[in-house]
């Protein structure tokens, strides 16, 4: 018997306290992609969009959140609201925001957040002394797409 408050593994994906590093980020991305493909029926393009957006958030936590410290962890949570066709994903770390140096030319970098903003329907970035949380909402993931490729 499942209580109404229990998390349904079909519509939730939760992955807590993973080390914030590049290897773990790749593993968590792959786990998440498998869950997504199994549980969310959506166009291939939409699935690719979601996985890429999530990857960028995980990569940033791995690369920046714990710069100059001994390291730390990050959490990924995703909720799929089947009725609304909406997917919400959040990636949280307990690190410090690290300001990109505006005095430095970064032509080769700095496309992660712009990508998330393009890929998600809503993006919320919350920075404080408690860490950074990036929350993305993908609306109507199950709607057929007009698809640019």
């Amino acid at each position: 018997m499942t209580s109404p408050f229990e998390r349904d593994p079909g519509t939730w994906f939760v992955c807590h306290d993973r080390p914030a590093d590049a290897w773990t980020a790749a593993l968590v991305r792959e786990d998440f992609a498998r869950w997504l493909r199994r549980r969310v029926s959506a166009d291939e393009a939409k699935l690719c969009d979601v996985v890429l957006a999530v990857n960028e958030a995980l990569a940033n936590a791995a690369e920046y959140a714990y710069l100059g410290t001994a390291g730390g962890t990050c959490d990924l949570e995703a909720v799929y609201d089947v009725a609304a066709g909406a997917l919400t994903v959040s990636v949280r770390d307990q690190g410090r925001w690290c300001e990109p140096d505006p005095n430095h030319h970064q032509r080769h970098r700095g496309r992660g957040i712009p990508l998330m903003r393009k890929l998600a329907d809503a993006l919320v970035i919350d920075t404080s002394a408690l860490g950074t949380s990036v929350c993305m909402r993908f609306s109507h993931v199950n709607a057929p797409m007009a698809g640019i490729c």
Binding site: A25, C48, A59, H108, P114, I148
Partner: protein, 104 residues
């Protein structure tokens, strides 16, 4: 004038694996090529780390060495276009088209 070099990547191009592509492109550049084509048609995941390598490669190649990228599909050409790199880098859906564009 050196050769045309095609650098082929496959699988995942994320923060972990993009440095390999960087090395592949540096090796190609060391051959004094007339053109470099990076073929992403066997890449199934391209993150911003990989995109950064492509922009850096284009910057290193130009203007002496022609530079083009082959990509198609939702995992590669789609995000490249979304983030505006199609305006910055010659992007072709097939190797044939890229070859024609660099004038072979």
């Amino acid at each position: 004038m050196g050769p045309l070099v095609v650098v082929r990547a496959a699988g995942v191009l994320d923060m972990l694996t993009s440095p390999q592509l960087e090395v592949g492109i540096a090796t190609a550049l060391a051959k004094n090529p007339s053109a470099i084509i990076v073929d992403l048609n066997h890449v199934d995941f391209l993150a911003s780390a990989g995109m950064g390598v492509l922009v850096a490669a284009q910057d290193k190649a130009a203007p002496a060495v022609k530079f083009a990228v082959v990509a198609s599909g939702p995992a590669t050409s789609r995000p490249l276009k979304m983030v505006g790199l199609a305006e910055l880098i010659g992007l072709y859906p097939t190797l044939d088209e890229a070859l024609a564009a660099v004038g072979e």
